[in-house]
Assembly symmetry: C2
Homo-oligomer: 694 residues x 2
């Protein structure tokens, strides 16, 4: 019975049909060819630039380059999205990350119509390329955001003309912004070095893009603040360009830079690759997920985190959510602990912002931002949704009441410490942070008259459709965890349990119990927001995303198997999975209950999300498209902790294999307390060898 | 400055121009003539039947007869509205009071066009009449709901024909219902006695209307379940009809019955009349307000209360709100204490319903219904408003979170006891009720960790536009009062005060502070509901009605004069006065601060509300028109406690005169602890004589 409920999910992978080494995915009548390290898309569809921009993203943690074509402009959502640089534009109440002028701009003139076109992403090495056969010329352009020198993006343009054509390339200063403009005092300059420099509107931070190339141009062309080189081409022409962002202009050799770049990618894969025997589709989507994680990890910084939409643009204000702590930290903690440490250092350095936020609301301790921007300042507003019927902003309570965020951070910090054995973070701010979060919870808590049991009332749990609830089971547990880890002993209200089902919050069982279809049928506008008081889900038991299921995934040891089964059976059919954080928590818990076949479709959904582009694009009238790092992290979590059943007990690595149908064998690598474990898992056994890391 | 803010209120009385003994009021191009005991309206306007139905209402506490014309049917909102009999129709989740078949139906045939028409209400004796000059006949019909025998309504029909006409009169079984039908198994019968009998749908309660008359009919005519007598009239014709509801059919003599009826009205006025010298307009509207209070008071019952819309129909489900305790009880306690006792007995007898409601929500003690119906059962649903944009019901929290209702009842009970000195109510259930309400508050309260101060979180205060607030100042105070009176000593959180202004609830001062006009300008539909999360008021400091001002009116002794002034100055401009409970609390408090001239327009608004019909007709898509007993009670409160400054200190009656401009002298009567005090108040003095009551 439960399987039939899940059938609609299985359908997501139906368009995938296997061709020897390739996977063909049909999306909106377009065919995407893939093998485990490569994606190809044929056909020139300017109207789908937004989708491709996410699907073909490259990045190196410092900058994300959307997978748009070189000739595209701001109207096609081109972006060189900069990590950790935020700006508040005139007339706006919130910040968003800054996009740099597009130094990668390039286009042919006099080339005639397009005969054939494809776009390729090498996900092993983070190299984007496009090949276009025009009537009068063949054009190939390759680009990569250097993993070796993060401020630099390299581009190689190859033109093979049949008739004379003109190449225009340079820096397009017409930047795409969702809530901009962010750049002021823009100056541009042509010469051996092209340069567009500007300052951010709010804080006057300098933004500068330089370009050098290895050929002399025929002409410089200026258009507004943009500056271009012009080459008149009559024979085969190869141009290597070096784009430098916020650094001195440099000239490098393309092939040398590419080798350096590739060798870092190879190193990353050596430390993290997961090999799945028997399921090429899963191998591809897992590789693709991990590709995204590697591309957006801030290796260049000492203290920086990852935005909820990675480096794919300005959606969600480029802010850091609990996604990092709960969905990304496991991957980095186990494969690149020094990077996981940077992510947590970002939170420790953001403690002042969290103290200030708590104080502003009248609480003690640290209330971390729901949407953390530079320096840990809250970027979330009181109005996260635009009502489709009135066009008025709707008061949401994500900022002021989603208090589990502080506990999520303590959880990740302690998981890092427990896994790595590294106590330096804890000793240099981590413990202070944990205690401050515990103080926050203590000051937020209420007790009934004559009772000493803490209750957390008027909160928003992971299921954001039910705002302002009392004693959300997940929130209470993460608060209790925080108090424990901070060394404070207080009893915390336990959730009510009815026939094994944990009540998501006080009174949840009194809500209208109806199906997802019934709730959908009440929509008057497909873009309308399901949550808050006027939303169709609010008065029903239909939830946005894993909530109790997340509790059971994170705190599995609290509950026996039958409770987990009962809650999956109850909540899954009542879950919209309207968040990309939902599927992987279900996948993980289905593995936990030994139901790998039920877990599998959720794994596929999680792992394929940025290939298919099948995710929610709107919350009310607010655009929320982009890439989904948390789902990417969730894919790895499901593969390793779910299907392979990785656990640590008493400092020892343990494996409880529960590989799904087609999976014959999985090999992977994790670093536990300084020791690299290379693990092989089969359906009914496992093996690991340990190598001390230096 | 404050005066200019209030100018829009003064405007309400501008249409009133004085003509010796009459007042002319222009409403929608119609002229209403009034003197202090009489209202006349000329012109036959069937389209305004709803308005006139309220304005010309008669009643005797057992039945309310809407002021519609005798020839009108269900489509014109004719109603014989029965007190305390409720029914839930098929397919509905709530009950509403039952309307009886209309035994007063009468119409002429062959009478030609209308030449002249007027409708008259004698508010001294509760007699409705209409006089219509047709082409071929003059018709006068008089009716009154007997104060002497409440089950009976009398009607006298006078026809003076110029040419032969036909009179059809009888019982119209086509009953007007908002959410009906409520009557099943309808049977009718013609003969000497006409009868329509039926049962209510839900509980099979018998409803029976009989009619007798003093002339032999020419014919009986049946139409559906309706049954009529037919008289062919050629000369002057007088017919006296007796309509009996839920009792044996009786034949009485009209003139004898009228004298008995009038003598009771005279007795009521002897005990309650307020004479205002110098302001005839105020005299009329106060008389009119008291007329309504007398007409709906359930003198026939031992334990019954008054619905928020009196006996004017089914609006607000005929339910009893806090209106009775806070706005009506003062009048009855001081002029007719035995009646006040019946109103409170209704609550004491409803304790079981309140205990059950508290239990269902997981609380101890007594949580009284927000909308109390028969036996004290909650009639309020979770959805009180229909959203105008989606036509979907909106989740409101009146039922589950407007917890001040329990305290309001304890307050009224104690005020009754303190004023009358009668402890029998307290000893026969009152104390039990008060203790149960205190237990409810104790179980609802939360304390901060390590504190013993009670906080009342997640409540709705009198200002219903801001739902789910913490520590509403009024709610906390009435809860503290309840605990005190129940003999339980607990500290309760005091409100924050900023520059003398009491914060309505935690965080109120953080809301957007904008003008009423700005909020109005954001409306997209004039009927849309201002409250709950999506409403235009919710995120602003604009409030629906007196909230802190009600606190200061009820608990004036807690606060010095300058605090009262500061709060009036702050809150009045931020109040929509979207409830008929708002104006009189402002009037009272302005009197308290010695600003009678500022109080006056609010008094006029309160006292005239059911004459002008200028009140809110819709909340979202829900019709809320009808009469306004709370405003009627508020008019008396303002005149006596406001302008005359009546107080009791140490069992002694005290007067602090603050008569407004035109008022030269006021005389009134109150009964204090069994002694009738006849009081005369002038601008600068007062006098009282005491007469022990038997």
């Amino acid at each position: 019975m439960r399987l039939s409920k899940l059938n609609h999910k299985v359908a997501i992978s139906i368009p995938l049909c296997y061709v020897t080494f390739n996977v063909k995915l049909r999306i909106k009548q377009k065919v995407i060819m893939m093998n485990v390290w490569r994606i190809e898309q044929e056909g020139y569809e300017a109207s789908e630039a937004a989708d491709s921009g996410n699907r073909f993203l490259i990045g190196n943690g410092f900058v994300g380059v959307r997978g748009t074509l070189e000739e595209y402009g701001a109207d096609k959502q081109v972006a060189l999205n900069l990590a950790g640089i935020y700006d508040r534009a005139e007339g706006h109440t919130w910040r968003e990350p800054v996009n740099a002028p597009n130094g990668l701009f390039a286009k042919l003139e006099h080339m005639g119509n397009i005969i054939k076109h494809k776009q390729i992403l090498d996900i092993r090495h983070g190299i984007h390329s496009r090949e276009t056969m025009y009537e009068h010329a063949f054009l190939k352009i390759e680009r990569f955001a250097s993993m070796a020198t993060p401020h630099i993006i390299h581009q190689r343009i190859i033109v093979e003309p049949k008739n004379p054509v003109t190449l225009i390339c340079g820096i397009d200063a017409d930047v795409w912004d969702i809530n901009g403009p962010h750049l002021i005092d823009i100056h541009s300059q042509g010469g051996d070095v092209l340069n567009v420099s500007a300052k951010t509107h709010e804080k006057n931070q300098p933004i500068s893009v330089c370009e050098t190339c290895d050929k002399a141009h025929d002409e410089i062309r200026n258009m507004g603040h943009s500056v271009f080189r012009v080459f008149y081409i009559t024979g085969r022409f190869v141009l290597d360009r070096t784009i430098t962002i916020n650094a001195e202009a440099v000239s490098t050799t393309y092939d040398v830079a590419l080798e350096a770049h590739k060798s870092i990618w190879e190193k990353l894969w050596r430390g993290s690759a997961v090999k799945i025997m028997g399921d090429e589709n899963a191998q591809l989507s897992l590789n693709y997920s991990m590709y995204h994680l590697h591309s957006i990890a801030p290796r260049h910084a000492d203290s920086l985190s990852i935005a909820a939409r990675g480096l794919s643009g300005q959606v969600y204000k480029g802010a850091v959510f609990w996604d990092t702590e709960i969905f990304l930290m496991p991957f980095f903690t186990r494969t690149e602990p020094h990077l996981a440490k940077k992510l947590m250092r970002y939170r420790i350095n953001g403690l002042d912002g969290a103290l200030a936020k708590a104080k502003a609301y009248g609480y003690n301790g640290a209330f971390f931002p729901w949407e953390s921007q530079d320096g840990g300042v809250e970027g979330c507003t009181d109005f996260n949704v635009i009502d489709v019927f009135t066009n008025r902003p709707v008061r949401t309570n994500f900022r002021d009441k989603q208090i589990h965020i502080s506990g999520d951070i303590v959880y990740a910090l302690c998981q890092y410490m427990d896994w790595t054995g590294d106590e330096t973070l804890w000793k240099t701010g981590g413990m202070t942070l944990a205690k401050a979060c515990a103080e926050f919870y203590l000051s937020h808590a209420y007790c009934r008259v004559g009772s000493n049991v803490l209750e957390f009332t008027d909160v928003v749990g992971p299921d954001e459709y039910h705002e302002r609830v009392d004693n959300n089971a997940f929130t209470n547990r993460i608060a209790a965890y925080t108090l424990e880890r901070a060394g404070m002993t207080y009893p915390v209200r336990k959730p009510r349990v009815k026939n094994g089902v944990i009540e998501q919050f006080d009174g949840y069982f009194r809500l209208e119990d109806c199906s997802l279809d019934v709730v959908k049928s009440r929509l008057k506008d497909e873009r309308e927001y399901w949550g808050t008081v006027n939303g169709v889900a609010f008065t029903t038991g239909i939830i946005k995303q894993a909530d109790v299921v997340t509790l059971l995934s994170l705190f599995g040891e609290d509950y026996p198997m039958e409770i987990k089964k009962a809650n999956l059976a109850y909540y899954e059919p009542r879950t919209e999975h309207g968040s990309s954080l939902s599927a992987c928590m279900h996948a993980l818990l289905f593995c936990e209950t030994g139901e790998s076949e039920l877990a599998y479709p959720f794994f596929v959904e999680t792992a394929e999300i940025d290939i298919t582009g099948k995710s929610k694009q709107f919350a009310g009238l607010v655009y929320i498209g982009g890439t989904h790092p948390a789902a990417n992290g969730g894919a790895w979590l499901t593969a390793i902790h779910g299907f392979c059943g990785l656990k640590v007990k008493n400092g020892e690595l343990q494996i409880a294999p529960r590989l799904p149908g087609a999976w014959e064998k999985v090999t992977f690598t994790v670093i536990l307390r300084g020791v690299e474990h290379r693990v092989t898992v089969t359906k009914d056994g496992w093996d690991a060898s340990a190598y001390p890391k230096d």
